[in-house]
Subunit: 552 residues, 2 copies
């Protein structure tokens, strides 16, 4: 029988090559097209999603008595899906029981299971898209792409790094050392990959699959059982993911409890029950800085990979495509109502304005043109709904209301037409002056942007860099035409580890990071303590043990 | 002008290849031979060492007012070398000032400087051997090999991993994504390696260079300035190392303060002043578990790579070469008076004895034969001095005296003949029974070994594995002939991350680990939280930052 590893070997090799060339490559098509996914895929996916609603979620053999779960869609309505209600102790016990047999399966089995699961997840992209959309509030196109193929690509990327790192050590070597007088000492050496222990993946509300797949697949592909602890508001996409992986494990005669679901209702404390437990060896976390700091401080000897809050800056020094710049920034601010960890929040503009292809633009004209571009983008209700989606959390509604006091309102936030019953808000754009306000420097999660008046482009750059150093950022955007300024920006943002995009116009946005090419986060500022995904993200998830003996 | 990187490129490529094949390879000859190092090298090295004694140690441009240092040789006599007396604040300030220019030099410069420094250190191997011998108490042959070429090989190995990890990301890529209707979105992307920050290397008393070079060169080769904090009793070998690296830096027009020396007298608290300082991003530590636990708990966001205490087991189930086994174990116990982190401490032997090529041997006969082999090995005073050397610390003398009460004395410790004025002790061998004593389970650093009676080989193996899991170990030795038992041992010790040697006889010992082939420690048990050296040891010492723009 062909092993899963052999079946998917070509895919793996291509993925490894892509992480090295970093040219465009994707394993999983991002177009939600019937021609690619099957003519009935869209309807089948929606039906599959709907079949979960109001039902217990079946995970054969999973620990837990009774059900738990209180997901309510940002589009309105409770999902009423009941997930296995399992205590932290019972989940850890099940993961512990699965540890030795999963470790014994070895790297090819780990990688093979992951690749097969990713292929099956890809085939279910419409189903997952519905689950992501209805739990996060993302518009459908984003829920499909980011929640489906893009997340799968990121999972595959983690598997590729894991395979490269693990397979770097040969299984065996003959070692022959000259010992003088024509003699040698000859040894046979063997190495094996030793997983670290149980992995814990703490998911977030906004990108349950995209933010969780790297850690989930990195830990699983290096032989560690994984407990997946979704955000209480976005359980379903990860529950489906866990089920698919468990099915592959069971088919391979492996213990399905190598992947477990830790579901709970809002207000639960499951995550706190796991962190610091000596059985938990690896923690992947995406969420608030407050809880992230607690996780890092209380993880004990577990390795923690965390993505937390940040304030992504844009520095606008000038442009030779004013209209394109404004349209591009408008889209970045509106996309998923600013609920992306990569969306800009603080847009620095010289107090005296900027030079553009359309002549000099004053500070107010720049702020106004960005606001007008948002208006234009959202003028079509269908497009507005698809771009903005809904707000994942009621907290964001309150934050928008409170933020109105933080600056001069250039563009007011409002509901999105035609999305009755959904929790929606278009971007709030505020103008402030760095001379008198620091409001832009604190994360305001959601559709809240500051256009910040600064002395000059250089002043804006300096403030942006300081902000990244102190508060963290995953992305930075710069618009300018002076090569010396652009070089200073490149050096400055590199120094604080914000991944920089220059002068973006058209259909590519600072928010977007492409698997296999763009690294997501750097680990070099407070927004994340690691890059997702690179070699360092996987290299410490396993150890190598040796046995040596004299050659016969 | 040819860059240092280009000059040493071939050496680097060979080192990278060696870490992959893991066959025997060494860049630096381990024989203290005049034919290799020059006919006058031995005398020159001794003279260089002696020239330091009773003098201020010159480090041009190094921070510090006045001198500090109270090294006393285990062979007798004060070194009376005065090192720059610099406060933690002044060292951090100097390292901080060196950070940006060193980061800007880039990977090829970092690696080139490291390779050139290693070559120069190799040329000074006799000088370093004298410094290591006189500060640690090692015999000269070991001080030369472990303190010189082997340490240099380990430094080179770290540089090789660093180069491989850094160069994995291309400097640039053209990214071209199909965007439908025959169009593409094309971007130019650039990446650069961003060092983490200031590295701190905390050295140990017994292997100042061998244990410090991996962290020192791993951090330096990834662009981080490094503060080297030697053990107060073994400063000189690292002071010479720091001077050599600083000379290379200065010749290259770089700030020599990219490498700094934090010297202090015994009882100082410099290490505590650095740990937890937010400027310190990387910490490499070798030493006690007590201080190691403090370092790990107080390091803040710094990455910590630590090697701490352990209890290395040997399980003796049987042998087809009884005399060879006893001689081999005797050497492992006597070598550097048991002061190696890789030396066995707990030797498990079935209570009912073992089968050998020389017939059945009772427990007492096994213990007695190992003791007799030690006697034989040390019967020649010159050999005894070369093998055992002297005791690095007076604490070890006290420990040996107290250990006599922990079991039945099979072989008493005593001074080594002809080493007047030196602090010496031959191995103490104790017999205990696991049914009534746990004394073997706590680290007894120095020449103290327990032959532990157990129910059976399987019982001994189980106890050894549990011991490694709870107390840590870097090595494990197993003697046996039953393939099923050997496989169980291989599986069991792999599970707890102890690197295993089977049935060693002749001139290869469980204590020895060969750079480029054997990994040192695994990170999978309490003896160390990382392997030294592998990809994971270097991969998180730098980050990668990106800049992207639309293609013209």
């Amino acid at each position: 029988m062909t092993s899963l590893f052999e079946t998917h070997r070509d895919l793996l090799d291509k993925a490894v090559a892509a992480t090295r060339s970093r040219d465009y490559w994707s394993a999983f098509p991002e177009m939600p097209s019937g021609k690619i996914y099957g003519e009935t895929a869209k309807a089948d996916g929606q039906a599959a999603y709907e079949s979960y609603l109001g039902q217990p979620f079946d995970l054969a053999g999973h620990p837990g008595a009774g059900t738990v779960g209180e997901e309510v869609s940002p589009y309105g309505g409770a999902l009423a899906v009941g997930y296995p209600a399992a205590s932290a102790d019972s989940l850890i016990a099940a993961a512990k029981a699965a540890t030795a047999p999963w470790a014994a399966a070895g790297p090819q089995a780990w990688v093979g299971v992951c690749l097969e699961a990713l292929k099956r997840l890809n085939a279910r992209s419409f189903e997952i898209a519905n689950a992501v959309m209805k739990t996060t509030g993302q518009g459908f196109p984003m829920a499909f792409q980011a929640g489906g193929p893009h997340a799968q690509d990121r999972g595959l990327e983690a598997v590729a790094y894991a395979w490269e790192a693990m397979s770097r050590t040969p299984a065996t070597a003959s070692w022959s050392k000259p010992a003088g007088k024509g003699t040698t000492i000859a040894m046979e050496k063997r190495w094996r990959v030793v997983p670290r222990g149980i992995g814990l993946v703490i998911g977030c509300n906004t990108f349950p699959t995209w933010n969780s797949y790297p850690g989930l697949f990195a830990s699983l592909a290096t032989g560690n059982p994984v407990i997946v602890k979704p955000h209480p508001s976005a359980i379903l996409p990860l529950a489906v993911t866990v089920r698919v992986i468990r099915e592959v494990l069971a088919e391979q005669g492996l213990d399905p409890n190598a992947v477990l679901l830790a579901a709970e209702a809002p207000g639960g404390t499951l995550a706190k029950s796991f962190v610091g437990n000596p059985e938990i060896a690896l923690i992947d976390y995406t969420g608030s800085s407050t809880f992230g700091a607690w996780v890092r401080a209380n993880a004990g000897s577990a390795a923690v990979f965390s993505e937390e809050a940040g304030v992504n800056p844009a520095v606008i020094a000038g442009t030779d495509n004013f209209r394109g710049m404004c349209a591009n920034l408008a889209f970045s601010l509106a996309l998923y109502s600013g609920q992306m960890c990569t969306a800009p929040q603080a847009l620095y503009v010289p107090r005296g304005g900027i030079e553009t292809d359309d002549g000099h633009k004053s500070f107010d004209e720049v702020a106004g043109a960005i606001a007008a571009s948002i208006d234009r983008l959202l003028s079509d209700p269908g497009r507005a709904a698809a771009v903005c989606g809904a707000l994942a959390s009621e907290d964001t509604v309150k934050r928008i209301a409170a933020a109105g006091a933080l600056g001069r309102v250039v563009r007011a936030s409002g509901p999105i037409e035609g999305m009755d019953g959904a929790r929606t808000a278009t971007p709030l754009v505020l103008a402030t002056d760095a001379a008198s306000s620091d409001a832009h420097g604190e994360e305001q999660f959601g559709p809240i942007a500051f256009v910040v008046a600064v002395d000059s482009a250089a002043d804006g750059l300096a403030r942006a860099i300081t902000g990244v150093r102190n508060r963290g950022a995953i992305t930075a955007a710069v618009y300018g035409t002076d090569p010396a300024f652009l070089q200073a920006a490149e050096d400055g943002f590199a120094g604080v580890g914000a991944n920089l995009s220059f002068n973006l116009v058209g259909d590519i946005y600072v928010n977007q990071s492409a698997a296999f090419s763009d690294y997501h986060a750097t680990g070099a500022n407070p927004a994340a303590n690691a890059c997702f995904t690179d070699l360092a993200f996987v290299a410490s998830r396993f150890r190598v043990a040796a046995a040596r003996r004299l050659a016969a």
